[in-house]
Symmetry: C2
Subunit: 339 residues, 2 copies
């Protein structure tokens, strides 16, 4: 199944069931008004939604409308939990190497995860409004899952069963604020402003064979200012799969239905010491910071700058037939003006 | 006004308006079913709730029931945002001194704040179920506020106006997991399991003169295993007031209605180098870790242990007439057993 949330003037928007090919959508107010309602009672509501979804795909619903990504908020415009892993340890190792720091070996066995803020997500086409480009505005292309209720202490081997939906993420980061903030020892806060998610959230079965081992085995496409920037395969070099990330998040707490768990920036090692840009024949990157690390390792200092006002980022994933699975995140950075 | 949330088998519970003296309560389904609904439209709903509250206090409501704290969940059983400051810098300085580390001077001007998880709060009388006492189970007595929508970039001087409600918090912490987790650089996650909140959330005007300068000028009472453990005044030694904490949280993001911002562990400097326990004539502490730091500074090592299975913690605040303002958090630590 595929779901989106249309803006309707409320805080949680209007749930829409979206056809597999992203051309049609239908509201299902008799079943649920919001996506959180569905997640709150997945077992009860999902079977009826499946009936609607099948009919929608078959063109049997008179009340279906043309699906319009521009009307979408993030599938959960606000959520109760957003925990973001850093499962592509290659990315973490690069960060460390760029500053001549050794990565602790435990990073290969104990996932990095930060607690994100989830009260005010951006929509997939919303501008990223920031006060100052000196904050080092960066995108981070990621995959995220949404869980059902997950019991505390769940083992990784059992955690995959609680994964209900998948989305793409732009985990907007403020690189200039990170060193001071992490130096204080309490983790990210101001340096991780509102994230945005793909227009559509999909059940794992929509990915077919591309969903296996609790990973998404497809390239994540990033286009920066209209140019191909990254196409790393999200199934490669993912040291911790989503079941392991869920288990990590649930070690000392229950997770409630609708909890979002992110993969961290998708990054492929590419069989070289420092990866390769798409222009160099490689798969490129899912954030600017990684390019800057490569430049630092190779040239002694970074030459690529972070995002400027007016810059755009597009993040998408296509199936093996070239069809968009989640719709696209497409955002422009603009100067924030207080009302 | 005073509000509580009764368990009713739903995820968000049943909003109850509670009388000032905590003896009576009434449901207001015609106005709002949950506290989040009220926060989502404070301007629209609060005036009508004020009318109900006045009538309840005057004993004019036939449908009022006896208020029962044991039926309460946390006022927001789950929330979209829980950000916890560490505004009593004395507490932070002690932590550092206990490990012979200097505290950066910026800590007196730039608030510490961590992003907490908010999808599964404990109720005020719920057991704290943990897998292992070697995790170093500790309580942290704190004050928290709940905001209305707050615009990104708000100045501290303007931020106080967005404070709608106040609560007490037990920010349960797992001290044994903190060093490894902070050492990884991404902040707290597993070391900060579900927090619990006082049965009742109150509007700032309920505190009368005790609410001024965006601080609560009353002692926070902690009772550990039935013995008085702390009574520091929450209005003293609070380096950053709640307006400053809100402004810090909103620097790079909007905050959505219902965002909870915590003060951090309430701690008084007590005019000595290392504070004093209540038995020594001092005001004591709001967490065990602080006692251990004092012991470490004084004796070279800590002698007080963290919480064991069966231990209890009670956190409460009384007005100048000795009446409980928020009701009490009363929790017992138990061994977690997976279902």
């Amino acid at each position: 199944m595929k779901f989106a949330t249309y803006r309707n003037g409320t805080r949680d928007g209007q749930l829409m069931v979206v056809s597999r090919d992203l051309t049609k959508a239908v509201a299902v107010p008799a079943l649920a008004v919001t996506l959180q309602e569905v997640l709150d009672d997945w077992e009860g509501i999902a079977p009826e939604l499946q009936t609607v979804y099948t009919a929608l795909n078959n063109g049997e619903l008179d009340d279906a409308v043309a699906f319009d990504e521009s009307l979408c908020e993030s599938p959960l415009p606000r959520a109760y939990q957003w925990a973001d892993g850093s499962a592509y340890v290659n990315h973490v190792e690069l960060v460390r190497r760029a500053r001549n720091a050794e990565m602790p070996p435990s990073f290969w066995t104990d996932p990095l995860m930060y607690q994100g803020g989830s009260d005010d997500f951006l929509g997939p086409k919303d501008t990223i409004e920031m006060g100052d480009t000196s904050w080092g505005i960066d995108f981070e292309g990621e995959i995220a899952i949404i869980t059902d209720d997950v019991p505390m202490g769940v083992e990784a081997a059992d955690a995959g069963q609680y994964i209900r939906l998948l989305m793409l993420v732009n985990d907007v980061s403020l690189r200039g604020l990170i060193p001071n903030e992490l130096g204080k020892g309490f983790g990210f806060f101001q340096s991780k402003p509102s994230s945005s998610f793909s227009p559509v959230a999909v059940t794992p079965d929509e990915l077919g064979d591309a969903w296996r081992d609790n990973k998404v085995h497809l390239p994540l496409l990033s286009e920066y200012n209209g140019e191909a920037f990254g196409k790393p395969n999200a199934g490669e070099d993912m040291t911790f799969d989503f079941a392991q990330l869920v288990a990590h998040a649930a070690k000392t707490r229950h997770l409630s239905a609708g909890a979002i768990i992110g993969s961290g920036t998708v990054s492929n090692k590419q069989g070289t010491d420092h990866g390769s840009a798409i222009a160099e024949g490689g798969v490129g990157y899912s954030c600017i910071a990684e390019v800057r690390m490569i430049e630092t390792i190779r040239d002694g200092k970074p030459t690529t700058g972070f995002m400027q006002f007016g810059d755009t980022i597009k993040i998408e994933m296509k199936d093996n037939d070239g069809a968009s699975i989640f719709g696209s995140i497409e955002q422009k950075v603009l100067q924030y003006q207080a009302d």
